[in-house]
């Protein structure tokens, strides 16, 4: 169970991690645009380097503005600590590389973001870390893939592109039998939509670039330590339980317990890999978080309307959203996302691959781009962009149909989004008619 604050999430979103500082009383979180911090004395410096006291040394490792964002995100997710990184991808890489070494193995959901799949399938493989991909809600497949050298079960809370909600309680009950942590990329389910840690995650990763920031202005990521995994009882993590030579043989678990992972990431990954977030980006992301809960309500309301509206359009061949009974994970989606399972939806249009392309090209309000989670409505037609070189059969194998349109529903006036989509659907209709 996660809990880091006793304030309402709306209050945490505005306040957690910062009280007006004493010098000037700045109400907004100040941007500490600095690389480094003057030590009080030689003794002070040496005790900071030796983790004898908390504090900032160098902005690659930690920065006061970034720390406010970290503490706010940890509070919102109910984690014991958080480390912000330069991007969602670096948050994922940092997590994998902190918990896995050459010779180790990961069990991952097959339905994940393309770059994450490539990281696991190719880049980490090159470093000697292997991944087995499974259908994450298939208990037998998940259990069957676990090996003696497995270090984690990884999934996205809402998988990409099939919008399948991961059954986190079930995944946790299997993983915990084997002493494995459940690492969840919750990018599509920002804090407030789902209690990711309480539902079964031990480590939560976000691309803060998306809904958390919300304004499409800054790239960033975060790793949140759930604080709820016993690294020693697991027996699989000498990285956290045995002496760590570069820090005078510190044993992270013994020394820090519930925030052992966050402290290890700070001490090792931020120091050696250095994928740190800039204070300016932390500030922009903090501005986003302040209104995250309000925005999510509007995202969800618009998504519900769009799902209904699309279902009633004759040019729409199918609609997928986890809240629809036709989605295979609908039952668990309702349980984990009582207010609505996010603002991503997919649908198919008449006219196949060409129809999808025509739909996108005639939109004026929605933006055709490779991002999600902006306050503005974003669309993508994989068949004519990211997957345009794939054959029909290869696309089916990737779980993407040629007519699939992916929508990240924004918070514009719903009638305006619908009017824009109505234009697109008419264009798809023309294509379909010309084909017949």
């Amino acid at each position: 169970m996660g809990r880091s604050s006793y304030y309402h999430p709306d209050t945490m979103a505005l306040h957690s991690g910062y009280v007006p500082e004493s010098d000037y009383g700045s109400r907004a979180v100040p941007i500490y645009q600095t690389t480094s911090y003057v030590f009080d004395s030689v003794d002070d410096a040496s005790s900071l380097f030796n983790v004898e006291q908390g504090g900032h040394i160098y902005s690659r490792i930690s920065n006061p503005t970034v720390a406010v964002l970290e503490q706010r995100l940890a509070a919102l997710e109910g984690g014991s600590g958080a480390i912000c990184t330069a991007s969602g991808m670096s948050a994922l890489f940092t997590t994998f590389i902190t918990l896995c070494s050459a010779g180790d193995h990961i069990v991952s959901s097959g339905q994940i973001y393309g770059s994450t799949a490539t990281l696991l399938r190719h880049t980490l493989k090159r470093l000697g870390i292997e991944t087995t991909f499974v259908s994450i809600n298939d208990q037998g497949a998940l259990e069957g893939a676990i090996r003696a050298n497995t270090k984690m079960v990884f999934c996205e809370s809402i998988g990409n592109p099939g919008l399948e909600v991961a059954n986190l309680p079930q995944i946790n009950s299997i993983a915990s039998q084997y002493g494995l942590p459940v690492v969840v990329d919750a990018t599509f389910a920002p804090p407030g939509l789902c209690n990711t840690i309480e539902s079964g995650a031990n480590v939560v990763v976000h691309s803060a670039t998306k809904w958390i920031g919300g304004h499409g202005a800054a790239v960033g990521g975060v790793v949140i330590d759930g604080g709820n995994f016993d690294w020693e009882a697991s027996g699989r993590f000498p990285e956290l339980t045995e002496p760590y030579e570069p820090f005078h043989g510190i044993k992270f678990w013994e020394e820090f317990g519930p925030n052992a992972l966050a402290m290890k990431i700070r001490a090792e990954s931020m120091r050696d890999i250095g994928a740190c977030m800039s204070p300016n980006n932390a500030f922009l992301l903090l501005q986003g978080i302040e209104t995250l809960n309000m925005r999510m309500k509007q995202h969800i309301a618009n998504t519900k309307d769009m799902v209904q509206w699309l279902q009633s359009q004759e040019q729409v061949t199918w609609v997928n959203h986890p809240d629809l009974p036709s989605n295979p994970s609908n039952v668990i989606a309702r349980e984990l996302f009582p207010n609505g399972a996010g603002s991503m939806l997919c649908f198919g249009v008449v006219g196949g691959r060409a129809g999808g392309g025509a739909f996108i090209d005639s939109l004026k309000l929605a933006s055709n781009l490779a991002n999600v989670g902006d306050s503005r409505t974003l669309v993508l037609h994989p068949g004519s962009t990211t997957h345009s070189r794939l054959t029909h059969d290869a696309m089916v194998a990737a779980g993407i149909s040629e007519d699939l349109i992916r929508v990240s529903v924004g918070i514009e006036g719903i009638k305006d989004i619908q009017a824009d989509f109505a234009n697109g659907l008419r264009a798809a209709q023309h294509v379909a008619e010309s084909q017949s």
Partner: protein, 271 residues
């Protein structure tokens, strides 16, 4: 490190360095439901600056095995046995909250074992609402939630942390929610020997108290400081969980006091 005390394995943190018996020892004692990690940001400094550090988990807490002590008197006896097992004859004894009550009992049993006595966020008696003990018996997590709301001061409630990126409430919750909190609270509620024990203390003493302490209100701590003629440090902007909330200020106060006692000992032994 691990060692056997009364037939059970005990875990004792040594500040990240091997414990050296021939250095002056500082013994850190955690409060109700907590463990050695409350002292993470004080113990390392002492260990790396000329002291031997011992921060045990009391029996049945976190990494120590065995049944939890059911009275403060028992925990005082356990401390005496623990020091014997370590081969330590005297130490500066630092107790947070309930840990200070155990230190008082140790002092009663072994007055010469204390080079100095330091209370942090504490008093000579810690009365506990029976409803809280009952809640802890049913659900340690629920009781931990109540205690963490009272225990931490305003800044920590607002998610401010001395260690960048961390959330002390969640850390405390994980530790307290999985430890024998109800037994600890009952120990505190049943203990009335503190004032007598304080009267017997001969070692130099200090009290580090919190202005926003709702668990052991500062008035009670001030009375003990007066009684002990202790050196007094009041950190007015913090709550009961001082070692975690204000680690640097607590370290500075401990450091100054313990170094001054060591200096006096050095001066009197050379004169």
């Amino acid at each position: 490190m691990k060692l056997m005390v009364n037939g059970y394995e005990a875990h004792v943190a040594t500040g990240g360095k091997k414990f050296e018996k021939n250095l002056p020892t500082v013994l850190f004692l955690h409060g109700s439901g907590l463990d050695h990690r409350s002292w993470a940001l004080q113990t390392r400094w002492f260990a790396y600056n000329g002291f031997g550090v011992l921060a045990p988990d009391f029996p049945g807490h976190s990494l120590s095995k065995g049944a939890p002590c059911v009275t403060i008197e028992d925990s005082g006896k356990w401390l005496a046995d623990f020091l014997d097992a370590m081969g330590v004859r005297e130490a500066h004894v630092v107790g947070h909250s309930q840990g200070f009550l155990s230190a008082l009992e140790l002092s009663k049993l072994r007055p010469t074992a204390l080079k100095s006595l330091i209370g942090v966020g504490t008093a000579a008696a810690i009365p506990v609402n029976p409803m809280l003990i009952e809640t802890a018996g049913r659900s340690p997590m629920k009781a931990a939630d109540l205690m963490l709301q009272w225990g931490f001061g305003h800044q920590t409630q607002m998610g401010v942390s001395a260690t960048p990126g961390m959330q002390p409430i969640a850390i405390g919750r994980q530790i307290m929610g999985n430890n024998p909190l109800a037994i600890d609270l009952q120990c505190c509620a049943d203990y009335w020997g503190g004032v007598d024990a304080v009267g017997l203390v001969t070692a130099p003493s200090a009290m580090i108290l919190a202005g926003q302490d709702k668990m052991t209100p500062i008035k009670a701590g001030l009375a003990i400081a007066d009684h002990l003629q202790a050196k007094l440090v009041v950190l007015k902007d913090y709550g009961h969980m001082l070692p975690i909330e204000a680690p640097k200020q607590v370290l500075v106060a401990l450091r100054e006091f313990i170094l001054s006692v060591e200096k006096q000992i050095g001066a009197s032994s050379s004169s």
